[in-house]
């Protein structure tokens, strides 16, 4: 295994390990809401904090590793920096885990100031440890984004080249010059780096302020300012997990379809839109803060709508076009990637509904919120990651999984996932609040069948894991032979 591939697999395996642990934490939460198990609210909210922060970091790690490897093949990057970013994030994860256990920190991963400092039931050191942990993750993320940005800019002739400016506005001259256009994955890398640094700047600002407040509680922080920056970071970071992982589809799905996914003018323009709208859509998290300037509420709705256009019109449509009447080989990898496009689109519809202000009035902070973000994270990003892992394993072994294995995995992950997700949508539409350890009716009844769906989903994940290990071992045997 090359040293670059080893870096990718370090990110991927760490991400998947954290993901697996967080799936079990999520199941424990849903089972508590269904009254299948009983534990105290303090433990529930500590697990909720762990689940939210852990899942986002897990998916980010997977996306970062894969995208780093893809871009490293375009232009070799410093491996020491990649390991440094990895180490900072892993240290951050360890700190967050310690803050939750034994610290029992339970403010949620996007807590709103002054929550972790007022009326809390956990020790002060746990608050500080959580803040430092998140700061370490943001630091690692910043290092990663700067490296990625450097790679893209140096490879494609600065920002103008990386954005495909000449490809769009001086197309004939660009083609005549013989300069290679950035591949689609490079746009994902550029937007991840730029929006990632933007989000990180906001996150660092509020993070440092919170750490200072933790040290000296007399230092005042404006709650609305903190709320804006918290969601700027949280929303953008979570969104970028999708845009990192879509690079996997750009690279791997064409191999299976035996077609090409090339950069067009439309694709470049679409990514410019993504650059802008991913960074401005976060205002929809503050729709119910009526003291926000009214203009940003309008921006929130318009940006949320416009953010849907590049994926719906270019990437997902392009993926469907790539598959249509192709010689696509259906394997675990291609199945996951194609299904991920479907999950991303369906989750996007749920998000658009929630992003419509008059509807948001009756859905904001209900279970509709976890419904739609779980749809595109669990049945979108996660599937892109699985697709990428299997693409690597299948390419290196020449082996593919049996039809029966694909069916069992699909039934578990898509079928069980659908039941789990439907529970949140139905409960959200019935006005059941989110982040409740004890839900009002019909929450517990819905949580019961959602828990059954989650168990089915986990069975599918286990089959998927066993199959991945089988392929990985086959590769080892081949290498040894």
């Amino acid at each position: 295994m090359s040293s670059a591939r080893r870096i990718m697999w370090a990110y991927l395996t760490t991400g998947i390990a954290v993901f697996g642990l967080m799936v079990l934490v999520g199941l424990a939460m849903r089972m508590e809401q269904a009254h299948w198990v009983t534990y105290d609210p303090g433990s529930f909210y500590a697990l909720m904090t762990l689940h939210g922060s852990g899942m986002i970091v897990a998916l980010a790690l997977c996306g970062m590793g894969g995208l780093w490897f893809i871009m490293d093949r375009e232009r070799a990057m410093d491996q020491g920096l990649a390991w440094s970013a990895y180490a900072l994030i892993v240290l951050g994860v360890v700190a967050v885990i310690l803050s939750v256990y034994p610290g029992r920190f339970g403010a949620g991963w996007t807590f709103l100031f002054p929550l972790p400092f007022v009326g809390t039931t956990w020790p002060n050191w746990a608050t500080g440890t959580f803040l430092i942990g998140v700061a370490l993750v943001m630091l690692g993320w910043t290092v990663y984004c700067m490296q990625l940005l450097g790679c893209v800019l140096s490879k494609y002739g600065g920002l103008r080249g990386a954005m495909g400016w000449d490809l769009v506005f001086h197309h004939d001259a660009f083609v005549a010059s013989g300069r290679p256009e950035p591949p689609p994955a490079a746009f994902a890398a550029l937007i991840t780096a730029v929006d990632g640094l933007f989000a990180s700047a906001g996150g660092m600002l509020v993070g440092v302020a919170l750490i200072i407040h933790w040290i000296d509680p007399t230092v005042a922080i404006d709650p609305l300012w903190a709320k804006n920056l918290t969601y700027l970071f949280g929303h953008t970071f979570a969104n970028l997990t999708i845009y990192m992982a879509i690079a996997f589809v750009y690279v791997a799905l064409p191999r299976y379809a035996q077609r090409e996914w090339h950069t067009s003018q439309v694709l470049a323009i679409a990514w410019w839109g993504t650059l802008l709208f991913v960074a401005t859509a976060y205002f929809h998290h503050l729709y119910m803060d009526f003291v926000q300037p009214r203009g940003v509420q309008y921006i929130g709705e318009v940006a949320s709508y416009l953010a849907a256009f590049p994926p719906a019109v270019v990437t997902i449509f392009g993926g469907a076009l790539l598959v249509y009447r192709s010689r696509l080989r259906w394997t675990m990898s291609s199945m996951f990637m194609y299904a991920g496009l479907v999950g991303w689109l369906i989750g996007g519809v749920g998000a658009l509904i929630d992003a419509t202000v008059p509807i948001n009035v009756s859905l904001h902070n209900t279970l509709w919120v976890p419904a739609h973000f779980h749809t595109y994270l669990l049945e979108g990003v996660t599937l892109f990651v699985f697709g990428w892992i299997f693409a690597d394993l299948e390419a290196r072994t020449g082996l593919v999984s049996s039809l029966a294995t694909r069916w069992i995995t699909g039934l578990g992950i898509f079928g069980g996932g659908a039941v789990l997700l439907l529970g949140w949508y139905v409960a959200g539409a019935a006005s059941v609040p989110r982040r409740y350890a004890e839900q009002p009716a019909p929450g517990p009844a819905i949580a019961a069948w959602a828990s059954a769906g989650a168990i089915l989903l986990i069975l599918g994940l286990v089959v998927c894991l066993i199959e991945a290990v089988r392929l990985a071992r086959a590769r080892t045997i081949e290498t040894a032979a």
Binding site: L112, P114, V266, F290, V291, E301, I353, A429, S431, P433
Partner: protein, 171 residues
């Protein structure tokens, strides 16, 4: 089912349509293949139509939703004002609010962020606003139905968040 169910039905219909279309596309891989050039020339025309359709849907959604934003304009804040103060883990609320006339809830918090979510007598979430320390959010409303209205905290505020409730009568 409550008033939000049309939203759920709309979502489920859209999700089903997406599944059917994407499954139909996937199924074409067992049919005789076409060249990528042939597929893209038709596909790009379709994409243009898809873009226009989505654009039209977005314009319609904006045209309908923008005038219905709940943010109180000065004119709509003219009703009788009621102060709501949230704190871990209770609300200071008016006991009764008049029906059939404009009222304004002036909502704030003594400690952390809370959510002031109003549930009608049938259990539907009909309005909400954040209760924030250092700020007052003005929520204009007009109650058409008399009865017992429950208030739940809709922003995670700490260990007893799920039990943070209040109530008032609309007479």
């Amino acid at each position: 089912m409550n008033g939000a169910s049309p939203v759920l039905i709309g979502f489920l219909v859209a999700a089903a349509a997406i599944l059917v279309v994407m499954a139909a596309v996937a199924r074409t891989t067992i049919e005789p293949p076409e060249t990528q050039a042939a597929v893209t020339s038709t596909g790009y025309r379709l994409r243009k139509g898809w873009l226009w359709a989505l654009g039209a849907a977005a314009v319609v959604a904006l045209a309908i939703s923008l005038p219905s934003f709940p943010y109180g304009k000065p004119a709509t804040l003219a009703g009788k004002h009621f102060t709501v103060i949230a704190s871990q883990y209770s609300f200071e609320l008016p006991q009764a609010v008049p029906a059939g006339t404009s009222v304004v809830f002036d909502v704030t918090s003594k400690d952390v962020n809370h959510g002031f979510g109003i549930y009608d007598p049938r259990g539907r979430l009909i309005a909400q606003v954040q209760a924030m320390p250092d700020y007052v959010n003005h929520l204009p409303l007009r109650f058409g139905v008399k009865g017992h209205y429950l208030v739940r905290c809709l922003e995670y505020c700490g260990i007893a968040h799920a039990g943070m409730q209040g109530a008032f009568e609309v007479r």
